[in-house]
Amino acid sequence: MEEVPIIDMKGIVKIYPDGTKALKGVDFSVKQGEIHGLLGENGAGKTTLMKILSGMLPPTEGKIYVKGREVQFKSPADALANGIGMVHQHFTLVEVFDALHNIILGMEGHGHFSKIDVDNARKKLQKLMDELNFQVPLDVPVENLPVGVQQRIEILKVLYRNVDVLILDEPTAVLTPIEVKELFDVLRTLKEQGKTIIFISHKLREVMEITDRVTVLRKGEVIGTVNTSEATPQLLARMMVGRDVVLRIQKPPKEPGEPILRVENLWVKGDRGEDAVKGLSFEVRAGEIFGIAGVEGNGQTELIEAITGLRKIEKGKIILNGKDITGRPPKELYNLGVAHIPEDRTHMGLILDMTVAENAVLGLHWREEFTGILNSIRWSNVKEHAKKLIEKFDIVAPGVDAPVKSLSGGNQQKLIVAREVSKNPELIVASQPTRGVDVASTEYIRNYLVKLRNENKAVLLVSADLDEVLQLSDRMAIMYEGQFVGIVKPEEVTEEQIGLMMGGIKDES
């Protein structure tokens, strides 16, 4: 006799307005009082599924049952009313408010001018904290509190709304190891008190440690649900990344040449001041694609920004063709033969309000061919250049004077690639070069990166798309928490090994 699951999602399909099929008919059920892991790579659909469950997104198709009763959520408030609350990866706290006011925010009372009953709220919160056996300072502005404490405030905020099911999206991503341990203690306490917890993660070790059951998602589909006690990291890794190999890129064997880029013991801080890159050393040689795989947020962005002159380097050296380029500004790096395809196409790679022509020379606009006397711009040459790029890369654009935002995502990305290649670089740093790009453009860009490699350029590729890294790289590293778990040749590793490494476990066998 099967008890009625507290959460039962049936045949959930989610198609985003841009046509992306994020979920392809997912069945997902959670038992009362368990900690249920939701495991998968980037883009597997974990967060989308949980946003649907917490009322933030409507499903395109499918039904949701809570304790056997069908529900339809129009907003997070509906989900909360049904006892479901989510703690997001990016906190939603008002930084200058203290914990108390953050927690009661939105439930102050009725009417705009009614008095907030702070004392009563404080009593209720104190009682809640005593029950849960964890404390947070209620009167300190949250911006002055460590991240781990802020997260507890987020959890309290949800529990204060009397939820039975707590969804945590990648809760350990921002925590130190000690904070992770403390979080797990809190989760165990909550479980003892009968709460149900859904734990979204890509970290195998954590899923193995804290969960009772695990559901693995891959590319919008459920691969399976297993009891954690019966699972092994190897099994989960295989479920997470196992895949059919899609179109293979033609890549002739090639003996790499001299090292072009050398990174030595590089330390870089992230936006919050944490160590994002922790003592990395590697080199990229001429005629080689060096790929970096890994779940996003493990320091890849900071690494790329440091190499391309956009982020301060705390310690270590970057050497290009034997020349120390540590801390040099982008302009100097471009003049020395670096090209950069940035991960954020619309906010960094292009200036959307400027024209195609203007964007076609961004980062090389100072070159002699484009400038005349008194540093004037020779627009005829600029437009000529833009036309050449459009022609050579088959970019669909209404004209060189059209604003670049009128181009489709794929064509925008092709324009960036075209521009960067036109710098005639020796090192191409490509970060998520095909993200959000249509299939045809993706193939074009991938083939072009291989062409550059065949022309003896050095290519540093960072991608969250594991297929891309596997197919293109001559050597690849798997990055995890600011370090490389290993550097391998794609053809010499199994998917299981890569999955383990992406989850932070180095397979010694």
Binding site: L362, G363, I377
Partner: protein, 344 residues
Amino acid sequence: MKADKLSNIMKPLLESLIAIIIGVVIGAVVLKVSGYSPVEAYAALVKGAVGSIYGWSMTLSSATPIILTGLTFAISARTGIFNIGAEGTVYFGAIAAIVFTNMFANPVLGLIGGIIAGILWALPAALLKVYRGVHEVISTIMLNWIAFYTALYLVLGPLANPNDPNKTLEVPASARLPLLMKGSELSLAFIIAIVAAVITYYILWHTVLGFELRASGYNERAAQYGGINPKRAIIWSFVIGGIMSGLAGATEVMGRPPSYAISQGMANIYGYGFDGIGVSLVGRNHPIGIIFSGIFFGALKAGATYMQIDAGVPLEMVKVVQGIIVVAVAVPGLWDLVKKVVRR
């Protein structure tokens, strides 16, 4: 593509036109309610501003300083900066021109004095912004007050005219800008403002510097990625803006009869910096648009006198109507700016 370009110019023009009509209509209602004849009042305004050669000369000479201060606001807005420090810069431009012309009795050196003062007074806000992250709105507002009282001290003290208690030392006759029309207030200063607008346009759209300013203004992060130093861009935009406002002050005292000096309470150089913001917004922060919107503002100023004399509308009411028209006309430009700021 050609049609695109045309509509790019036509759309703001049409919007401005509609805004002017709306402003005029609301102004008419206010006049009517207050017991004045709108037809008579507007007829006087138009006649005074553009009804005669003399009217035109008043319109254009009134437009001169606000075209220049409009350029200050425009070049900073194009760089993503909200520089409202033109006001204070005008004072020092005027003071420097008086000092320089009294020392050298040469118009060119007078203008150069104004430019130097403009640059120097623009730099504090620029450097505070770039190196200390002080928001330019805060710093320029405060610097405006510092400028006001410092200038007032200089006007009343060291530069006071020993022969005329109502104003400062005069710009000597040999250093004054030649008049374009005998008996009018229209001098070479107007030509200087037009040339300045054309140069600003050229810098923004035909030089590497302008490209970098605009790129930083649209998207600082992308500009930085594009090998541009946004800090450098910000400093340049303040410096060029300072030059324009410094020139506004200098040309006002060197080319505006009859006083050729700063009046005791600085009334004759007060307010141009703030007017420039409106001029720039109406001109859509475009140097060529600013020439036209500057002339429009100048016409309102020149015509206001006649509204008072011919139609018997009191000065206060004239200012109300003027204000209504200006606000209505500035709305589309302001709206663009707000959208841009909100988008960030």
